[in-house]
Structures are given as C-alpha cells and as structure tokens.
Amino acid sequence: MSDAIFSVIISLFTIFLYMVLGSYILKKNPHERTNQLFFLLMLAFILWSVGTYNIGLVAENAPLKEFLLYTRLQLSGVVLAFTLFVFFALALNQMKTVLKNPLTYLTIIPALYLLFLIWTSDVSGIEPGMFSTVAERKQEFFLFSAIFGIAGVYLLLRHYMTSKYRQQEQAKIILAGAISAVFIAVASNIILPMFYGVYLLSLSTLAPAVMGIFFAYAVYQYGLFVRPMPEVSVTSFCGKECTLCADYIYDKCPGCRFNRERHKNCEIYMCLIKKGYKDCGECPEILTCQLRKETSERCFKPEPSHAKSRCELSPGSTYFVKEEGYDIFLDAVKCGAFGFVVSTLPPQQIKEKYGLSTTPIVWISEAAFDTGVRPKDLKRLSSLIINFMKKTNNAVVFLDGIDVLISINVFANVQPVVQILSSTAQATKSYLIISTTMENEALSRLKPLYFTKVRT
C-alpha cells in the first residue's frame, strides 16, 4: 500500500472519528449547551485536520492559491478549536451563562479579529515556502507544542490522583489515551522522519482523535454524562412542585398550567413561548436560571406543615426500605433534591409509572448500552452513583434492585459497594435509598460491617 493511500485512509478515519464522537455526544441531549459546544469543537478539529492534511499533500511548487486556501482552513480550525475549548470548559462547569462571563469576550474578540485577518489579508507577492513548515524545524516546532500538552496531562492526572474520590481506573484510561496520543505524535513527527525519512502527516492528525476516543470512553464508563436535573411538576410551567404549595392544597389554584389567568402574564411562560419549550424541564439553563428562581419563589407559597412531613430525610444517611422506596424518593425529589434512579426496571416504565420526566435513570440490564449498566459491572455502577453524588449538592439516589445484584454477584461482592456508596453519601451529604426485600437477618449482615468500619 503506498504512503499516499495510507495517509488518505488514516485521515478519513480521523475525520470519521471526530464526526462520530461529536454526533454521539450531541445525540445524548441536543438541548444541552455543553453537548452543542462539543459538537462544534469536533467540527473545528475536522477543519484543522482537513487544512493540515491538505497542506502536506500540496506539492512544493504548487500555485499560491492552493497553499493559501488550506493554510487559511488550518489556521481557522486552530483558532476556532481553542476558542470553543474555552467555552466548553466554562459550560462544563456551569460558570455563569457562557455569554454572560467576561472571560468569554477576552477570547472571542481576538479570535474573531484573527479570523478576519486570516480571511481578508492580502498575500499576493508572498513565496509559497512561507506557508509550509520548514522541514528541518518541524521537530523543534512539534517539541515546542508538546510542552503544553505534557503540562496539561500532568495537571489533569494530578487532579485525579489527589481527588478524595480517587478513581484509579478512570485515571488509567485517561493516562492510556494521553500516552498513546503523545506516542503517535512523537512517532509521526520525530522518530519516523528522523530515522526512516518517512513523514506521515495524517498519522499526526490521528493523535488527538485517539486521545478523544480514550477520553470519551472514560466519560462514558464513569457516568460523567449523567447530569443532575430538578424534577419538574406537570402542574406548573416552571416545574415547581405545586403539591407543596398552600394555594394548591387549599384548592385556590389548580397549578398555573391549568389556570390561564395565572400563567398568561408570567415571565417564565413568556420565556418558554419565546424559546419554544413546553416547560422549564426542557431548558438547558434550568439550573442557573435566575428568572425561574425569582419568579417561582414569588408565586410559590410553601405549606410548612405539609412540606415538613414529606421532606424529613436527613442528609448523609442511607435508608434501607422495602416497598415504599419510590414514595420516599419522590417526596425527596419534590422537596427540591436532585434525584437519580438506578433500577432493574426499564427507564420508560419508571417514568410512566411514577411521573418522572427529567430525573436521570440508569437501567441495570444486560440489554442496556449507554443508558445503563450491566449487572456484573459493579465498578461502573458504583462510579456512576459516586460521580453523581460528588458533583451534585443535595443529591438523592435511589438504588432499586440490590437483590438482583446480590443474586448475580453474590453477597460478598455487593457488600463493599453498599459500604462505599454509604460512605460517599455521608461525605457528600447526599441521601441514599436502597430498596430491598431482604429479611432483617440478611440486612443486618449488610449494615453492621459498614457501621463498624466507620467507627474505626
């Protein structure tokens, strides 16, 4: 197989990977801002790769026009990728709304100006050699660029290794991805050209794609896609739980969704009409929306005696329940906790039966792919729950199906999982509700070990 064909195949594969990664993430939730930004980031990488790859293919004595187009594409890809990465980092950590953050403009204005310069500058009279990388300096330039990559990977790993919820497995996957990418880049930019006289440009563009695959796998495997969402009530547009409101309890209001006089002038309703959503549960800004917070607080009149009886779970506790598990969970969610269900029942069935619309649900099943976890994969199951608890204030996790897990994995393997989940709930002040049909004797074998461990 000739070098040219090999290069074409690797480049097409890289571009295909970027497209699949971007589309997959976007498909997870098209309304989610981080997912939209990730998709755009992948498009910028594609632009960068197409430019870089074509510059390598253009002959040394090719007309200026050809060099110019590909160099412009490459530079535009670089500028867009870095800028979108900044937005992505901001959106991922919910640091205000991205466009309201002044830091956004520190990067967006120079980036727009650069794009303007790249596409409007006059380059007549410049020699084509000026655009391509001077061969003997390729290695030096690559080494220079690698410094930032190495420092970034070091900081990332340090963050993982020193985290109090240290997750070695996840760190290993990320490390493997980073090392593979650096190895491919070093091989294609330094070892192959210096010792074998072969320069495969497309191989170097494969490096970030390989890293992307490992990162995406780590994100998938450890449930970082699961985002906390408040459960929204079907009686109101803002999703506030009407059954805790005095007006609803004493039949003064059936919920604004069923009371035109109440919602026709509501600012939240206007906002939803403008954005085309049926309620706030569809809006990606629900967690940070100030309008929702202020307006719903004005409208909502909590009935203290009613609310107190339903919101009585104590933070950091683990509850073993028999049949009333969903009722306790739903009460906690209605009291404002961010729910997460891990169950052996299909998610759609749970949603329909208990009226859940936005609460994330993970299915324990052999048939589940990215929306679930296999019963034997206890490591992933615990990571999903731990990651949810540690990134969510006021989390309530309902684990329904511990008996199935015990029957498949035996008691001795499930017990440590319960212990670690309980201690995480305690550390993060979350609520953990475990539904079980175990008799008291069996249950006592599960609990004392945990409590003994805590005391020591």
């Binding site: 160099t71 530079l75 670089v78 500028v79 870095f82 800028t83 990465f85 900044v86 980092a89 901001l90 950590n93 830091l103 520190l106 990067t107 120079p110 980036a111 100006y113 650069l114 310069l117 790249i118 500058s121 006059d122 380059v123 410049i126 050699g129 000026m130 655009f131 391509s132 990388t133 001077v134 300096r137 290695q139 030096e140 330039f141 080494l143 220079f144 690698a146 410094i147 930032f148 190495i150 420092a151 970034g152 070091y154 900081l155 340090r158 963050h159 020193t162």
Partner: protein
C-alpha cells in the same frame, strides 16, 4: 442658590469650576499601576509577567527579528504566515489571543483544583520561556548567534517539568497531603 461642584475632605464646598483643584496628569496615568500594585499577590504578578513576556514580549521581538533578518528565521509556521499575510498586527493579535487562552485555562485549573504552587511553577516556566525566546530574537537581530531553538525548547521543557513538580511538592507540604 449656587450649585456645589466639589466637596473637599475638610467639608468645604466649592461652587466655582475654576476653584476645583486639578488632579495632576501623572496621577491619572499612574493610578492603574498604583491600583495593581496595591492589590497584587505573587500569583497575579506571575500571570502578568507571563502575559508580558510570553505574549507581548515574544511577539514584539519576533516582529523586530523578522523585519531585520527575514520571516523565514521564525520557527513557528503560524506566526510566519500571520507576519507574511497580516504584518505586525497579525502577529501581535495571534500571540495575545494565544496567551489569553493559555492563561485562562491555567486560571480555570487553579480555581477548580485549588492548587497554588503548581500553578505558580507553570507560570514561572512560562515567564522564563518567554524571556528566553525574547533573548534569542534580540540576539538574532544584533547579528549574534542565538541559542539553537532545540536547546531553548529542551530547557523550557525541563524547566516546566521541574518547576511544576516543585510546585506540586510545595502544595502537598502546605496541604498536608501524602
């Protein structure tokens, strides 16, 4: 009734605009510097110094070098293209944009992880790296033989690893982590 245009610290009120004490122009010019000096700490100083050396300084000296010795001497092909196509403003805006992105990401990591000395180590390496690049550019301008780009990069890389590791160690010492 005459309108008060300025109220003095001693309570005296000035009603005529010509009586208003003028603020010396030097005070206006130096006000931002005085303000920065009064609020600065080590990390802020390092952010500023890396912006000035790695961003502005390297960009300006690279332009000066390319004007005197030709654009082909520049190692970075992106800077070379920007200089050839858009001139000085292209190089400066590219360098400033790039350093802002890098500093933003560093600031972001610092806020997310709460690490202090590791970040300081990284910023110090960035400042020294920018300084080395500036020196090499100026040596090329004055006809001296600058250190090879390879040696600068290796020194930069070693410094980066070393200072970040030292910073990491200090962070652990201060936080009591093992």
């Amino acid at each position: 009734m005459k309108k008060t245009v300025q109220k003095m610290l001693n309570g005296k009120e000035i009603t005529r605009i010509s009586d208003v004490k003028r603020i010396p122009i030097a005070e206006i010019i130096f006000f931002p510097i005085k303000y920065i000096l009064s609020t600065i700490n080590l990390q802020k100083a390092l952010f500023l110094s890396s912006f000035l050396t790695y961003g502005v300084g390297d960009g300006v000296t690279a332009i000066y070098m390319m004007e005197n010795t030709g654009a082909i001497r520049e190692i970075n092909p992106i800077i070379r293209f920007m200089y050839a196509s858009s001139g000085k403003e292209g190089v400066i805006s590219l360098k400033i944009w790039f350093i802002l992105v890098v500093l933003f990401l560093v600031w972001f990591v610092s806020r997310k992880t709460g690490i202090y000395w590791t970040i300081n180590g990284f910023l110090t390496a960035l400042t020294i790296g920018g300084g080395m690049a500036m020196r090499a550019n100026m040596m090329a301008v004055y006809g001296m033989e600058p250190p090879s780009p390879g040696s600068i990069i290796i020194t930069f890389l070693v410094l980066m690893v070393l200072l970040v590791m030292i910073g990491d160690l200090m962070d652990k010492l201060y936080s009591g982590a093992k």
